[in-house]
Subunit: 399 residues, 2 copies
């Protein structure tokens, strides 16, 4: 089985048309593509209207279209908000001639702001005209849902299963604030299409596994925006593929998109990958990786390119995660890599952190390997970025 990058984003999958427009901060994306569908949603207890709407909609097990706006999260907007989410589905349904019950709705933007339905209706008229299965369609849709994102995020792969069957998986995503657990304006949305034909249970299991190893490792798990949503639709226009091969392809696409989200972290100057090995279990490894990338102190030290502060704070973050007595400080090792690599902490002892280590920290892509030394063969990877003046500026609403 080979995974090959291809162009076209979601439109690389057969049976998908897309388009979108963006006017200032307010954009609208429409994706047409019929098939079996599964989704994963924010675990925030105050879910936005579109999340509640689409979660219920997905009980049909099918999606014919996705309509998504930027400029308002339609969150904390009361009954009017829910009526507006329904109205978005209705509008898409009548434009495209698909069942209203098969239209998914997503929103991103500030909380507590009602949708401008007149604007959405007008934009929809234009977007419908632009729908295309060409690669420009996916790109336009990806652009339309950007908020504080500084670049658009799309990826597609072709999975060569070694037979005549070729299956394409394409996705778009938006999100630039997944740096911290308490998202509000910076929702993560991702829509993924495949032309493979797969059972609903296989789609569900594959999406869960892929998201656990990708979007959920951009430092977010239980604490999410009120609007986060990942949808996976299989149009079934191409051949069959084994569950194993499909999972590998889907995980690859989701990780590529997740890394783009981390790279575009609000105000980020560095992309950081943290790998944790030797934890008592994979769940522990994930928790430690995330808690390191959640720590504002670690992230500030990375911004300051200070290996000494970074390592000390990584130690504190490890200690504050829930692996009670299972970690022996004398067995912890940490290495830091950019163009070169240095062993910064070796079996619980700080090495020289003022020579090569300082040069390595100047890299724009840093890989931090933590070995907790239990000897267990587990590894988790998480992605994030540094904490910078610009993060504060952007989120202070100072433009």
């Amino acid at each position: 089985m080979k995974i090959k990058m291809v162009k076209g984003g979601i439109c690389a999958a057969k049976g998908v048309r897309a388009y979108g427009i963006k006017e200032g901060s307010k954009g609208l994306a429409l994706i047409e593509g019929e098939g079996r569908a599964v989704g994963m949603f924010t675990s925030n207890n105050l879910k936005a209207a579109p999340v509640r709407y689409t979660k219920k909609q997905l009980e049909t097990g099918r999606i014919s279209a996705i309509i998504a706006n930027s400029g308002s999260a339609n969150s904390f907007t009361g009954e009017r908000g829910m009526r507006n989410a329904e109205r978005m589905a209705e509008l898409a349904s009548s434009c495209l001639g698909v069942e209203r019950e098969e239209v998914a709705v997503a929103s991103t933007g500030p909380i507590g702001v009602q949708l401008d339905m007149d604007l959405i209706e007008r934009q929809l008229g234009e977007v419908v005209k632009g729908l295309t299965s060409g690669e420009g369609g996916s790109t336009a849709a990806a652009k339309a849902i950007m908020t504080t994102d500084t670049f658009l995020k799309e990826k597609a792969v072709c999975i060569d299963t070694g037979t005549d069957e070729r299956v394409v998986l394409g996705g778009i995503a938006k999100g630039a604030g997944m740096i911290f657990p308490h998202l509000a304006t910076a929702t993560m949305l991702s829509f993924i299409y495949t032309d493979a034909s797969l059972e609903e249970e296989v789609l569900g299991r594959s999406l869960k596994e892929a998201v656990d190893n990708s979007f959920n490792m951009v430092v977010v798990d239980g604490d999410m925006s009120t609007n986060d949503m990942v949808l996976l639709v299989s149009t079934g226009r191409s051949g069959k593929i084994s569950e194993e091969d499909f999972k590998a392809g889907l995980t690859f696409v989701c990780q590529e998109l997740a890394k783009l989200v981390a790279k575009d972290g609000e105000g980020a100057t560095k992309f950081i990958e943290v790998s944790v090995k030797g934890a008592p279990s994979i769940a522990d490894a994930r928790e430690v990786a995330r808690s390191i990338l959640r720590s504002p102190l670690v992230k500030s030290a990375l911004f300051g390119e200070r290996p000494d502060l970074t390592c000390g704070r990584i130690i504190a973050a490890i200690g504050s995660s829930a692996i009670a007595g299972a970690v022996d400080p004398r067995r912890i090792s940490i290495s830091v890599k950019s163009d070169k690599e240095v062993l910064a902490v070796k079996n619980g002892e700080f090495m020289d952190l003022f020579g090569l280590a300082r040069t390595i920290m100047k890299g724009k892509e840093l890989f931090i390997d933590v070995d907790l030394g239990t000897g267990e063969e587990v590894e988790a990877r998480a992605w994030g970025c540094d904490l910078t003046y610009d993060y504060v500026r952007i989120n202070a609403g100072v433009h």
Copy 2:
């Protein structure tokens, strides 16, 4: 019962002498005062050597002296670190002629750096000479343990129980980074002395209650520095006091010190008090208050003086806390107060947030009242500050 502020910090309590010196970033404080003692310690799993040492030491139930240094946390320093903590106790014990087993040891500063024992020994010689029961003694000790603190923290009260008995409670504290849960360089230390005579169990219960309502509400609970420590010593040199009165006095002193820590939050331009009412339980109220003040997005919006962004992100923080289905968004109200007060969210609806609200947000002390609307009569208060460019600068190690 009346609580009256008095001068003198820890030295206001009878039977206490203190002093300290600070040279650059390295300081040493010594407190002499014999009595029953209890302590509370960081719940970080990687506890620094002085924390492990003092926790064990307190099994004697007594403290005769406290020796505390700034400039190194003596954390993640292996067996040599533990020997150095023991050595600090030995040095204080021989200088003062007290039992080594009754000396508590505390440290604050960067992780992974060994103590400079020659310096500590030299500084101790000078500090012993300066020991005094005058108010300058408390102040000197409080200064000696400062790290990124911008002002010293001490408070003392006299509790007038209405009889002839007067009891004094005095405390010092350091800590300027309790803004975020993953502390590393910015440990919180507090040493509190009282001349009241109290049983060990009463001291223990009182300290737990006071800390739960003060230091633990500076946005920190399970996630702490490797070095946090609060010690309470009762010299028994004054009269008796009821447990209730003592708890009230102790809670007052701890809250005053906790607020000073929040006010001195690294890089802070605003002091924020969050009060949460109407949660299903007091534990829920505490969790919500803390999760609001932990959110980098809420804190950035406070820095930007943006009531609209602040309220939206408070909603997301409420939703991401663990009060599952118990919160009805239509019952949430939020008011913001500085010199004036405005109802920003009323029963789930955003009010006008661009008039008076923007003026109120310019205040340097903000009080945010959140009512979750369950009708339960519980209230929790937490203290914190905004997230600023200076927080990033300080923690990036850029000086």
